[in-house]
Amino acid sequence: MITRSLKESFVKLSAMRKVRPAEEEVLRERLEDRTPVGGLGVITIMHDDIDLVQEILLVLGAITEALWDVDCPPIQSCLVGEDIVRELGRRLCLLPKGRKYKVLGIAKNEISLIETPYSERHYHLVFEKTPDVFSVADDISDGFQKVYGGSRISELVLSPENPLFHILVMLSPYLERDIFGLRAHRPEVVRVYLPLWPIGLSSSISRDLMFSLYAMTNSKDLSHTNFDIYLLSPAYVREADVPVDNDLTMTLASCLFTDLLEKSGVVEPAKEPAGEQLSLHDRDALRERLGEEGVEGASLAILGVKYIPDDVKRMRGGIISQLSGESISRAREDMRIDEKHVIGLEQAWILPSEDDRVVRECINQSLSVMSKCYHDAEFLGVRVLVIPWLWPMALTRIWFKPYDFMLSWAKSVRISPYVLKEVRGALDGLRHSLDRPGRARWREAAEALTWAWDRFEELVKSEGPGS
């Protein structure tokens, strides 16, 4: 359901499109010249909340409405979930186009729909009731390849409470179809957005989510170094001086669109970025450092956005500094990341036009604010991107040491030995199920899952309250 505030945001986005600076013409030309034949990349949304999925599609539609007459392939969105085809078709008009659909009323976005079986909300139930969980992952990758051929998943939105979806990421190195491009000569960064809603991090029901994060980051056999996982706070902020509400939908749509433009080279940093860019290039040092912390799989970061309330051209140092700090606060909201666990910070300013003074000040002030907030962070990076179709914002990503973060989590929650045993038992059952003919190739994956669970269980037991 579209909230009242989101409707207001649509009005503002629509009004913003009338302001067309010279930079927009450059971007439109680049979209025509640089967009690959298969499109900017495939956004895959694996979330059970049909409202969220629908709103992301609509906000992306509002952003790309200005591009309908640009001669470039549309954005590709792959929706994965239970009943999603039927439910989306009930709410919106879908026009079949080969293996894909257009949502009537939305230009420049083609969607595909992959239906999955119902997923239990806890690992032990998934392993018990869906013993063919590996086949489900294979089915999803087969379905994806049939629609997209050689194109890869570029951006992924994951539900925090659907272990079946998490399994797909964990099994990515074992999938017959390389849908994430991990076996490519130069694998591209896959950005995984994990909105922490409806599950928070502070309760024992976050056990399964924490295990997913543990397995994806700590095991090189589950996930890959080219995955970035971003945790998004579910906190909703409505500020009087900002017309765009700070909510998951707007943040996700803005970030997904920005990433696609940046990855394809349609948008390039204005002026020289300062520090390390951290996001797409110069990642080697960050990855090496994370490796020293035992991160052999995906990198883990928290993400936050602060929308800019004032006329961007009038922004002075003090305001920029304040916005930079608030963007960091948004990323940290409800996350309980200890300062000493932070390794790197990145800020990207999305502005509607390129003004030398503003760009320079954004870079200088951001670097100063970030280094004051986190004295010990080893990597800082700032860049300014000019994207006139988005509401201006300061986007912060904070990379941290996953193991230390999980230790803090384990100290704060109480998990009974029984709920740990039930996962172990279900994993044993899963491994035995692989003795059947034709299942041998999944044995390694099951061993990796069991190994990750054993380590995770040790962590929880050693640090749980009362231990």
Binding site: R20, R91, L104, A107
Partner: protein, 133 residues
């Protein structure tokens, strides 16, 4: 160009003519016969919904235009409509009525009203000042 009323009328006609031209070209290509006389009210309503569903803001510097037709959306909608009408058989008038309702609810109200609210407001004003019967 004359005053506000005349330019509204011109703008409104320009948009209508464009949509009408596309509809009849596509219908002919797909071999769909639209019974204009029998279904004039139903067609009229469907036609207005389709125009509203495909209205978008004009680009800066497009002289004399406040609105444009988003031709990608228009093409999609006509593909949808004509495919449905092609299979409608003798029940074409009730199918046209159903389509108008469906597009109004699912495309206009749930989608375009959010994506292009200002353009629809502007179109509403043009419609009011167009002297249409």
């Amino acid at each position: 160009m004359a005053g506000g009323q005349a330019s509204s009328r011109d703008e409104y006609r320009r948009l209508r003519n464009h949509v009408e031209r596309v509809l009849f070209t596509k219908a002919a290509e797909m071999g769909v016969s639209i019974p204009l006389e029998e279904a004039s009210d139903a067609i009229s309503r469907l036609f207005m919904v389709v125009i509203k569903c495909s209205i978008t803001g004009a680009r800066r510097g497009e002289q004399g235009k406040s609105l444009r037709i988003n031709t990608e959306v228009l093409d999609d909608i006509f593909d949808y409509v004509l495919h449905r009408l092609k299979d409608a058989g003798e029940d074409i008038i009730s199918q046209i009525k159903k389509l108008a309702e469906e597009l109004e609810e699912k495309v206009l109200n749930r989608c375009r009203a959010l994506l292009v609210p200002k353009a629809l407001e502007t179109f509403g004003a043009l419609e009011g000042g167009s002297d249409r019967p």
